[in-house]
Symmetry: C3
Subunit: 281 residues, 3 copies
């Protein structure tokens, strides 16, 4: 049987040897396992971003892929270490700390199991007193055993109720009389674009179409910080350089960009519940 | 038949989930494909650097390797999406936007084809309105199909004349009465070294040899900004720390370094047509 | 016979094409070789960090893995290029410049061989005058030949005495009347934690246990720069945010962290022989 792919995301970065130690454990479990980096640059301790990134890329992978997410500010506390099986057939090995928010609220979770540390934790002479590196000793090790078929999903550990999975609050967009409003729920930290929580279909139902020029008002903690009429384009190449524009992002959500520029930096904008955006006719 | 290697370079960085989504598509086309990162840290929108980096490393790979370059400021415009076959037997999947400059002018391009989006673009329920992520939906997907043998090079799409490939201007070095002059055409952004457009053989024909001390004058927009007599060494270890020196770089071009230092930062230097360098006896 | 894994660490970063050229050479030696990044973000020229990182992750890999470390400020000088075999069965391909310090002093080195450049250096028309990129032309090439079985360890080149291997000085911790003192020997540059040279067992023998509150004094060049009573916890999740705490790190050494914060940055601390730390009852 073909072994499952292992895809990792963490907030470890590659600045030191943590990723290499974790991957060494995986390869020591099973030399044949294929390891792929999703990213090791999740913002530190940011379980919201960890959750969003899984939502962003998970669906594009072959069914059965095992995703490992280690953004774990609560390592060493009572937070559960778990493996979730999504309704669309992926495994996610992660601390249960909000990282499953988008998967649970999106495609949904079919079953979740707490990792049984008595069998699925690496114990060696040189790590038995170590409580701070679950990426290496617990999540990576357990995921490798699952992906290689050494253990079945059932052998991860006992199930627990899906309702008990820890979630971050998700804010929904609202249709208003002459438009729609939502929040920036995440950014593209490389290009500086901001992604709203407004899906394309709702935006179109609110009466907006490609080519429209749309009044866009942004509030930070209810204070207006941006108020301009900007175009809604299908792609960046249609705008002039440094023009602020609206577009449909890769996940079919409405987003804002400064073309060939960095909107977040140049306009002092960010994401989260405090950043509201309103589009009106 | 052995499948071709897939080597990727982009300006996406690993700060978010774009690379992971693109690689998921590749693995969903064919689980057996081997993906290798060339780099995801090309400077944003910098198709000159994208072109130079291909030139820097492509030749060292096995023949038949498929390179994917996604530095694409013009996504969504009329710029072509293409696959080029180089004279030395490599495939390059890229927007035709200057990224092929060095390969075209160096080893040369044998044939170029526009990607037929009616067959070689990924269409799913959740991406059919997405126009902004050609890395995932077009370049990565088409490259995976080519590397796995699902499509032949002919099935990428129709050929177009090689002369139509978009090029950046390439500036040639000039031999002068008592030396040679050129430009800095790229840097090593990690160590801060500057690479000229002067090949080793021309430099030697101009009368320079290892061990020489050479007057080196640098101009920015015709204003002299550096004028020193510096040594020409075969390697960094021969210089004192922080000594500015001339060397023959990994591509057999003449280059400048501050040993165990950062020449670009510490001397305020950069690259491009505005940075001229003159070596004289 | 299964081919050895190849694990790379350098100070090249991914900002340009050096890693891609080096990996291309490996794949041209043998398409079947599996390449894994340990890290390409070792601090520039820092052979101490290179040595420490090997020590941090090497033991977790399958026996026989070939590690390649290219942090090489002395490239082009008389420093040896070598392959060492550790007592626990790993190969390390590296300049002999201090990078083997921790392996030699820890698990120990069984045998070391100088790379015979007449057979184990890549020679092509386009690199025969290149003296500055041993990562691509020497270390990567030789390591690929060794990992693929093209050459045996004996065919790397001649042995030389293990005592001749270059070492950095290693400072030992000292038990004092009412506690223990040592230095910060490395940091975690991502999270900003500081790792001492004091092993867990010595710390416990000095009378300290989880839950204790311990007076911790830090000196920089014998000047006191930190003096607080802080808790010794088994993991980060037990502390309040931004609390400075002592913990047992992933290598069973005593370490300091600012929980969900960056101790190095926020307290102006670093590592090296100048940073002494004293724990007393």
């Amino acid at each position: 049987m073909e072994k499952a792919l292992l895809v990792f995301q963490t907030d470890f970065t590659y600045k030191e040897g943590a990723v290499a130690a974790m991957y060494g454990v995986v390869k020591s479990v099973d030399r044949q396992l294929e390891i792929i980096d999703a990213t090791h640059e999740i913002p530190q301790y940011d379980t919201w971003s960890a959750s969003y990134r899984l939502h962003q890329y998970m669906r594009f992978w072959p069914k059965g892929t095992v995703f490992v997410s280690v953004v774990d500010p609560g390592v060493g506390t009572a937070r559960r270490a778990c493996v979730a099986l999504s309704n669309d057939g992926y495994y996610i090995v992660t601390p249960d700390n909000g990282t499953l928010t988008h998967i649970k609220n999106g495609v949904g979770i079919k079953e979740v199991r707490v990792i049984d540390e008595t069998v699925n934790r690496l114990v060696r002479d040189d790590n038995k007193h170590v409580s701070i590196f679950h990426g290496r000793d617990l999540f990576g090790y357990c995921a490798a055993r699952l992906a290689s078929g050494i253990i079945s999903f059932e052998e991860v550990g006992k199930t627990y109720p899906i309702e008990e999975i820890i979630e971050h609050p998700i804010i929904k967009p609202q249709t208003i009389s002459n438009g729609i409003e939502g929040i920036f729920e995440i950014n593209d930290p490389n290009f500086g674009n901001l992604w709203t929580n407004i899906p394309l279909d709702l935006f179109e139902k609110a009466g907006f179409h490609h080519g429209d020029r749309i009044r866009t008002v942004i509030f930070f903690k209810d204070k207006k910080i941006f108020d301009e009429v900007i175009p809604y384009f299908s792609s960046f190449g249609m705008a002039e350089n440094h023009q602020v524009m609206i577009y449909n992002n890769e996940l079919n959500h409405i987003a804002l960009a400064e073309t060939v520029g960095n909107l977040c930096q140049n306009y002092g904008l960010g994401y989260g519940a405090d950043y509201k955006v309103r589009f009106t006719n």
